[in-house]
C-alpha cells in the first residue's frame, strides 16, 4: 500500500505497525461484546414492536402475558416519566428528551414499523417471546408518510402534533423540523458568468450502518437507586446522559460499562435497549439482558436518511466554477434530527466557489429515527454534486480530477458556513490519485468504465480525558473513556509510548467505564485518535513533567535543567554536572521521591472542523448489459490522513469506508410496502457487500499534518465512504452512456435505465433515417 509522506517521520513508535494490544482476546473469542455478559439470576428481555408505520395506540393490555409462567415484568411508556420537550445539549448532540423517550417506548402514537411499544422480562428468551404474543395492543391505523416529498406536501398527514418550524410559524403543524440555508455572493451573476450550467435531480435510499453486532445491554439496578448498564455503545458517557434523562434519575447514579463493540459506524451513538434493560431490572430486582435480533436492528435502529437533492453548477470553459446551488431534503425518520446540517455543511465545501446557495430541510417521515452513519449526511449529498462535476468536466473537455484540483479548497479558503480552512490536503489528495498507477493504467474491454469522485468530512473534536499511570517497573497504562471500535487502543498506547520513550508492549491501554475516567464524548466523528489521542499525548507530557521534577529533586537542580529524551532523563550538559537516569530507574525510586506518578489531561477540542479530511477515489466497473449487475474491477482510494499513527488501521478505515460506499452505491436500500411496512428485514435481502463482491482495495495515504494537533493527527474514519457512489455512477456512465441519478444503482434500476437508453437511441436512429 502506498504511503505518500509529507510529514517527515521523526517518530520512533508513531508510524509503525505493532500488533494491537487487544488482538489476542479478539482472535481467541475471549473478548466480551454486548451480548456476552451473564450474571447470576439474569433475566432476558424482549421488545414488542409496532406492526404499523403510523397509528394511534388506543390501549395496551398485558394481564395474560404477565400470567405466563416465567414472565417477571412488563413495561410500557407509562413506566417512564414524561420527559422535557425542549431540545437540550446532551454531550455533542442537541436532543429533545421527549422525542428520545418516545423513541425508546412509544407514547400515544407509533411512528414506524418496528417502533417499540412494550417490553417483557422472563426467565428465558423464548418465554419472553411467547409473552410478547400475549400482549394485546389496540391500534387505530393512520395514513403513513414515507418520503420527504410526500411529507412536505401541503395537507400531508402530520406525524408529530406539536412540531413547528420558524418559517411556517407557531400555528402551522408541519413535518418540516428545520430549514437551513447558507448563502454567498451573487448567484444569478455567477451563473451568468458561466459558459456551461448543468442542473440535475437526485434521490438516494435509506441505508443502514449494518454493524454485525446487534444492540445488546444488561441492566442491573440496586435498591439504593444506583444502577449499572453493560452495553455495546460508541459512547458510554452519552449513554449515561441520555438514559438518565429518559429514566428521570440523577446522572451520577448510573454507571455505564462499555463492552467491546461489534461495529457502530454512528449507529451506536444513541440509546435503545439501555433504558429498557434498566427499567426491567428495576421492576424485577434481577439483572436483565435485552438483545435485538437482526430484523429489530433493521426495522428500528439508526438507518441514515434517504434524500432528494437538486444540484445546479456553472463553470467557465476554462474550468472555473462560478456558482453552485444545492437543494436537499433529508428524511429524518420518525423524529427530527437527520444529518441534513452536516450534509449541507459538506456538500460542496471541497471547492472554492464565489457564489453559493445551499438549502437543507430536515423532514419527519414514518421510518425509524435516523442515526449517524459514517460522515453523516455527506455521502448522499456528495452523490449529486460529484456527478454533476463529472458531467461538467466532460462538457468542457477537461480531466475530471483537473476540474477538482483547479477549484479545490486549500489553506485560506472560506467554507460555506463560515470558518476558514487551515492547512488541508484536498489538492494533494486529488493529485496523488491522478498520479497513481491505477489512474494512469489503460482500461479496455466492452461495458467497462472508469470513474472518479471526491469527498469531504470535517471530523469532530469535542471532549476527551486520559490518565497515564507509571508502574514501579517502569511500564505504563493508559486509561481513556473512548471505546475501541477499530484498533484505537493501539493508537493510544503508541502515542503514550512515543512520548514516554517506552517500547509499545510496555504500555497497556485500558477503556474505562464512566465511574473510572473523566467525561469523554462518543467514539464517532473520526475523533478518537485526534482528540483522545491529544488527551493521551498531554497526559503523557504531564508524566514527563513530573518525572523531571522528581529527577530535579534528586539532582538538586530545577526541572528546567532536566531533559527527557527517549525514556532517559539527563541534566542539561551546558549547565550542570552530567547526570542521567532512565524512566525505569526512576520508577523504582518512586516510593522514595513522592509516590506513584499519575499523568492526567482533558481536552475540549471544539466541534466540527477539528482536522478536515478529504478523499478521492478511482473505480473501474464492468456492467453486465443483460442483467444490469455492476462488478467492481479495481478501486483505489487516496485520502488526506494527517500523520498516520498506525498505518495498517488507517488503511483499514479507508478500505472499510470504501466497501460501505460501494454497498450504498449498488445494493443497499430499505424496501417498504404500500403500508409502510419494511419488507427486507434480513441480511439476505438487505444486501451488503461480501468479499466475493469486492476486489482488493488499494489505498494511498496522503500525510498532510494537521496543524491543530501535536502529532499532526487528523481523523481518518469517515470520509472514505463519501466518494464511492458518485465515482461508481461516473464509471457506469463511461461504461454504458447512462447517467444514474438514483441510489442504489441496483440491477433492476440500472437495467431499466439501460433499456430506456437503448430505446431512445433506437428512436433517434429511426428518426434520423
Amino acid at each position: 500500500m502506498a504511503v505518500k509522506k509529507e510529514a517527515h517521520h521523526k517518530y520512533r513508535v508513531v508510524g509503525t505497525r505493532p500488533i494491537r494490544p487487544d488482538g489476542i482476546e479478539k482472535v481467541t473469542g475471549r473478548a466480551l461484546y454486548g451480548a456476552d455478559y451473564y450474571f447470576p439470576g439474569m433475566l432476558f428481555g424482549k421488545i414488542l414492536r409496532s406492526p404499523y408505520a403510523h397509528a394511534r395506540i388506543k390501549s395496551i393490555k398485558f394481564d395474560k402475558a404477565l400470567k405466563l409462567p416465567g414472565v417477571r415484568a412488563i413495561v410500557t411508556a407509562d413506566d417512564l416519566p414524561e420527559a422535557d420537550r425542549k431540545p437540550q445539549q446532551m454531550g455533542e448532540q442537541q436532543v429533545s428528551p421527549y422525542y428520545l423517550s418516545c423513541n425508546v417506548l412509544a407514547r400515544g402514537k407509533v411512528l414506524y414499523d418496528g417502533h417499540p411499544v412494550a417490553a417483557v422480562a422472563a426467565t428465558s428468551p423464548h418465554i419472553a417471546e411467547e409473552a410478547l404474543r400475549l400482549i394485546e395492543v389496540d391500534y387505530e391505523p393512520l395514513e403513513p408518510v414515507m418520503t420527504a416529498d410526500e411529507a412536505m406536501k401541503p395537507g400531508a398527514p402530520i406525524l408529530i402534533d406539536d412540531l413547528r418550524n420558524q418559517e411556517e410559524g407557531p400555528d402551522q403543524p408541519t413535518n418540516v423540523a428545520t430549514h437551513l440555508q447558507f448563502k454567498r455572493g451573487d448567484l444569478a451573476a455567477g451563473f451568468d458568468a458561466a459558459d456551461c450550467v448543468i442542473e440535475r435531480e437526485f434521490r438516494t435510499a435509506t441505508v443502514h450502518q449494518g454493524y454485525i453486532e446487534p444492540h445488546a445491554s444488561v441492566g442491573i439496578w440496586n435498591p439504593d437507586g444506583h444502577a449499572t448498564v453493560y452495553t455495546c455503545t460508541q459512547g458510554s458517557f452519552t449513554v449515561r446522559t441520555l438514559a438518565t434523562k429518559v429514566l428521570g434519575m440523577p446522572e451520577g447514579n448510573l454507571k455505564v460499562v462499555p463492552s467491546e463493540i461489534g461495529g457502530g459506524f454512528g449507529g451506536k451513538t444513541t440509546i435503545y435497549c439501555e433504558p429498557i434493560a434498566l427499567l426491567l431490572a428495576k421492576k424485577t430486582g434481577h439483572p436483565v439482558k435485552v438483545t435485538m435480533s437482526r430484523s429489530e436492528v433493521l426495522r428500528a435502529t439508526g438507518p441514515t436518511s434517504g434524500i432528494h437533492e437538486r444540484v445546479k453548477i456553472g463553470v467557465t470553459k476554462e474550468g472555473r466554477i462560478t456558482a453552485a446551488q444545492v437543494w436537499m431534503a433529508y428524511e429524518a425518520g420518525a423524529f427530527p434530527g437527520s444529518p441534513m446540517a452536516p450534509g449541507a455543511m459538506t456538500v460542496i465545501t471541497s471547492y472554492d466557489i464565489p457564489n453559493l446557495l445551499i438549502d437543507g430541510y430536515d423532514v419527519v417521515v414514518n421510518r425509524p429515527k435516523t442515526c449517524a452513519y459514517r460522515a453523516p449526511g455527506a455521502t448522499a449529498a456528495a452523490f449529486g454534486v460529484e456527478t454533476v462535476l463529472d458531467e461538467l468536466a466532460e462538457q468542457i473537455g477537461i480531466d475530471p480530477l483537473d476540474l477538482r484540483i483547479m477549484n479545490g479548497a486549500h489553506e485560506g479558503t472560506q467554507q460555506p458556513f463560515g470558518p476558514v480552512f487551515k492547512r488541508i490536503g484536498f489538492i494533494e489528495t486529488c493529485e496523488a490519485l491522478k498520479a497513481s498507477e491505477h489512474y494512469n493504467s489503460k482500461l479496455t474491454g466492452a461495458n467497462r468504465g472508469r470513474g472518479v469522485a471526491a469527498g469531504f468530512w470535517f471530523n469532530a473534536g469535542f471532549q476527551s480525558s486520559a490518565s497515564v499511570y507509571v508502574n514501579q517497573d517502569g511500564t505504563a497504562s493508559v486509561v481513556t473513556g473512548s471505546v475501541d471500535i477499530g484498533g484505537s487502543r493501539a493508537s493510544m498506547a503508541m502515542i503514550a509510548a512515543e512520548v514516554l520513550g517506552l517500547p509499545i508492549d510496555e504500555v497497556r491501554p485500558v477503556v474505562a467505564d464512566t465511574d473510572s475516567i473523566g467525561y469523554t464524548d462518543v467514539t464517532a466523528g473520526s475523533r478518537v485518535t485526534f482528540a483522545t489521542g491529544m488527551a493521551v499525548y498531554n497526559a503523557a507530557q504531564d508524566v514527563v513533567r513530573q518525572l523531571k521534577e522528581r529527577a530535579a529533586k534528586m539532582w538538586e537542580c530545577t526541572p528546567d535543567d532536566v531533559e527527557f529524551d527517549n525514556g532517559v532523563l539527563r541534566t542539561r550538559g551546558d549547565v550542570l554536572q552530567p547526570q542521567q537516569l532512565t524512566l525505569k530507574e526512576l520508577a523504582a525510586r518512586f516510593i522514595r521521591t513522592g509516590g506513584p506518578v499519575v499523568g492526567r489531561a482533558s481536552v475540549s477540542t471544539g466541534g466540527a472542523g477539528a482536522g478536515p479530511a478529504f478523499a478521492a477515489i478511482c473505480v473501474d466497473v464492468e456492467v453486465d448489459p443483460d442483467t444490469g449487475k455492476v462488478q467492481i474491477l479495481r478501486v483505489t482510494i487516496a485520502q488526506d490522513v494527517g500523520t498516520a499513527i498506525h498505518p495498517s488501521y488507517v488503511e483499514g478505515q479507508l478500505q472499510g469506508g470504501t466497501a460501505q460506499g460501494i454497498g450504498w452505491a449498488l445494493n443497499e436500500e430499505y424496501v417498504y410496502d404500500s403500508k409502510g411496512v419494511l419488507r427486507n428485514t434480513g441480511l439476505l435481502d438487505y444486501r451488503m457487500p461480501t468479499c466475493l463482491d469486492l476486489p482488493a482495495i488499494e489505498t494511498i495515504l496522503v500525510e498532510v499534518p494537521n496543524p491543530t494537533h501535536p502529532l499532526g493527527v487528523r481523523g481518518v474514519g469517515e470520509v472514505s465512504i463519501v466518494p464511492p457512489p458518485a465515482a461508481i455512477a461516473n464509471a457506469i456512465y463511461r461504461a454504458t452512456g447512462v447517467r444514474m441519478r438514483e441510489l442504489p444503482m441496483s440491477p433492476p434500476r440500472l437495467m431499466k435505465a439501460l433499456q430506456e437508453h437503448r430505446n431512445s437511441r433506437e428512436g433517434q436512429a429511426a428518426a434520423g433515417r
Binding site: 482472535v27 481467541t28 461484546y33 453486532e213 478500505q655 461480501t690 466475493l692 482488493a696
Partner: protein, 157 residues
C-alpha cells in the same frame, strides 16, 4: 417450560453432556447454556457467518442447527482454535495483517478459513473470496482478511 433433552457431543476434543430445550439453536446452547460466547450472533438466519463453527470438520452456521442435533457430532469452536498457549497460524496472521477492526466477525471468519485451509491448503485469492463469501464483515472491506488467509496458507504450505 419445554422439556429439556440430554445431548452428548464433543466440543473442541472434550466430551460434553448438556441439557437443552429442543427449540434452542446450537448457537443459543453454546452461548446461553455453556457460556461459550466466542461464537457470535449477527443475524440468526444464516446470512452473516458470525456464528460459524465446524461440525465434523465442515463449516456450519450454528444458528441454523438445533442444539439437539449436536448429538454424536464433533464440534470445533473459536475457543479451541489455539493449541494451549500457541495461536493457530490464521489467528497470528489476522493479528499481523490487522485483519480485524471491531472483531465481531473474526471468530466466524477464522473458523471458515480453517475449514478452507483444511480442505485446500494453498487456495488462490479467488478461492479464498469464494469460500469466505458466507461471512460478512462490515468494517474492513475484506482486503486484510483475504491477505491474512493467503499468507497463512503460504506459511504452512
Amino acid at each position: 417450560m419445554a422439556k429439556r433433552t440430554l445431548v452428548e457431543t464433543v466440543i473442541n476434543n472434550e466430551p460434553v453432556e448438556l441439557l437443552c430445550e429442543p427449540r434452542q439453536s446450537l448457537l443459543e446452547v453454546l452461548r446461553d447454556e455453556l457460556h461459550m460466547t466466542g461464537t457470535k450472533e449477527g443475524c440468526l438466519t444464516g446470512d452473516c457467518g458470525a456464528c460459524t463453527i465446524l461440525v465434523d470438520g465442515r463449516p456450519v452456521c450454528s444458528c441454523l442447527m438445533l442444539g439437539v442435533e449436536a448429538q454424536g457430532h464433533k464440534l470445533e469452536t473459536i475457543e479451541g482454535l489455539a493449541t494451549g498457549a500457541e495461536l493457530h497460524p490464521l489467528q497470528r496472521k489476522f493479528l499481523e495483517h490487522a485483519s480485524l477492526q471491531c472483531g465481531i466477525c473474526t471468530p466466524g471468519f477464522l473458523m471458515s478459513a480453517k475449514a478452507l485451509l483444511d480442505k485446500i491448503p494453498r487456495p488462490t485469492e479467488a478461492e479464498v473470496r469464494y469460500h469466505l463469501a458466507g461471512n460478512l464483515c462490515r468494517c474492513t472491506g475484506y482486503d486484510k482478511i483475504v491477505r491474512a488467509v493467503l499468507d497463512a496458507a503460504r506459511e504452512s504450505g
